[in-house]
């Protein structure tokens, strides 16, 4: 395998593992409120499913362009879904203690920023445009 291929795979798998971890942290931080647990639990399930789907799509790819396309599409999803935690965590409707809400918002912010930066790196490495 070429170096860009290996590096891209490593980046994408790392981001997906981190995204899953942060999503689980967000779900755990929301257990004090039934409404929050419902909302962020669903969001976590969606993040985990898309992250696993992305890992499955990128695994075994031998061609850099194809790997880049699958990686970028998966990374966009985690970049975007991080915004759900970030924007909803502090809503009074969910009734979360401020510390828990901060943890959830932070998890969302890290997911979005980390995925977004990796998007840029993967695009550079593979030569696949971000709008693929």
């Amino acid at each position: 395998m070429s170096e860009p291929l290996v590096t891209t795979l490593k980046y994408v798998r790392t981001v997906m593992v981190v995204s899953i971890g942060l999503a689980v942290v967000a779900a755990v931080a929301s257990v004090s409120s039934q409404r929050a647990l419902f909302a962020f639990g669903i969001t976590t399930v969606i993040v985990v499913l898309f992250a696993l789907l992305t890992v499955a799509r990128v695994s075994g790819r031998k061609e850099l362009k194809a790997l880049g396309e699958a990686s970028i599409q998966g990374l966009w999803v985690t970049t975007s879904l991080g915004l759900v935690y970030l924007t909803l965590a502090t809503a009074p409707y969910y009734g979360l203690p401020i510390a828990n809400a901060a943890v959830i918002a932070l998890a969302g912010a890290i997911t979005t920023i980390f995925s977004g930066l990796t998007l840029y790196r993967v695009s550079k490495l593979t030569g696949v445009m971000l709008s693929i």
Binding site: W76, T79, L88, L130, S131
Partner: protein
Amino acid sequence: MRIFEAFLVEEGDEKIYILLSSNSRIAMSEEEVKDYYGDFANVRVPLHERRTMVNQLIVFLGVLAVWAAVFGGAALATWFGAIDIIIVSVLGCIVLGLLAFLTATIGGRTYASTYVILRHSMGRAGAIIAGIVISGISATLWFAFETWLFGVIMAGTFPGVPGMDVGTAAIWGGILMMITAAIGYRGLSVLSYFIVPAWFVIVTLALTAAIDVSGGWAALLAARPPAPADIATGITFVVGLYIVGATIAPDVTRFSRKPYDGAIAWFIHVVFFMPLILAAGGFLQLLAPGQNLVGFMVSMGMVWAVLLTGVLGQWTTNDNNLYSASLAWCNAVPKVKRVIWVIVMGVGGTAVAALIGYGYGVSLDALLAFGTFLGTFIPPFTGVMIADYFIVRPYILGARDPRTRYPFGPGTEYAVINWPAAVAVVVASFLAWYVPQLDSRIPAFLVGLLTSSLLHIVLMAVSKGAKIRWGVGRWVETPTGW
């Protein structure tokens, strides 16, 4: 068709791109690949710019991800209960999915925009007029309306905050929307990728929260509409909501790698996601008449989510309006680049929205009435486009191969006007305007669509049989695709 190799060869003075696929070989001239107007407004989308099915799905979902669509769904609650809202939404969206599967396929086969595609069925001058009616004016009016609505949502969500009054928010919102429309399809894609997954999750969560605070699912199922109507009325209403989007689907699906990529993307987005949006509006209207999801979200403290979905959701939709308008104007006026049209139409639309916002006009009602009036004339063009590509060309004119059915590129000859199509559109437009006045249960779009397609097929068959020339005049495509 998966193209696996492309190379340049020289034949005499001409340079030709040869594209090899698993089952065919297509020659594309070098000039055809040149893009004078920008973002392939008047030429085919070249191989290296074609996108995945996922990309087109996301762009279509970006068009759908807008508060105005949720508000549109609220109208269903006037006629239906919760279960029936789901039934009419799903059935209406299936009709839309099937209808636009056809228009989207034309885009995926020809790699050309809606207005360029219409050159063959309507004639070159006919395509100019069609483009101006379908998108050149209509889409610009909708751009102005949605920019104003953006200002209204911002002002309602952040009252008293500097820069968030209707007029000022309309100005900065309009500028944002112009940026991605000016960048082109890349801009639309990147923004849609960024917001669409979050938008749909946030709206779904906000909807369940709003139902929760409004009495729950039991109250929703028990709620009755004030003026019950039959299912057919609901289905036609749903189809009418997005019929223009179905018509201009080729503006996006021309970027398809495989012929059916865009069509499948369209079908998925409209059948699986549009009912959710309509239900979001309809359910809340049933539970709390007069209130909308934005108001609920603000009252539940989801202000940041409103800001995100309001700004970026409206942005991903309205930039598409401007984008399609700019493509239509490039097809209509020579030598003016697409980005100039984005600026001209964008500044004009934003100025109208801001002036209304600052109180210099009563409302946008007059403009919207004009836009709705023009909307009556769009389905007849859709009917001609579908009938021409799928029936007239292959079965009446003998162009069976879908890849060569609509040739484009420098030197391609078109009629100035195809009279059977023109007659079909004029007659169908009149009937679409007149018949619903006699019986309001008959939907205008259905009259327009069916009449124009049938009339076009019949007139073309008669012309062919009687050896009457159907194309009037001659127009040769220039090297820039005009």
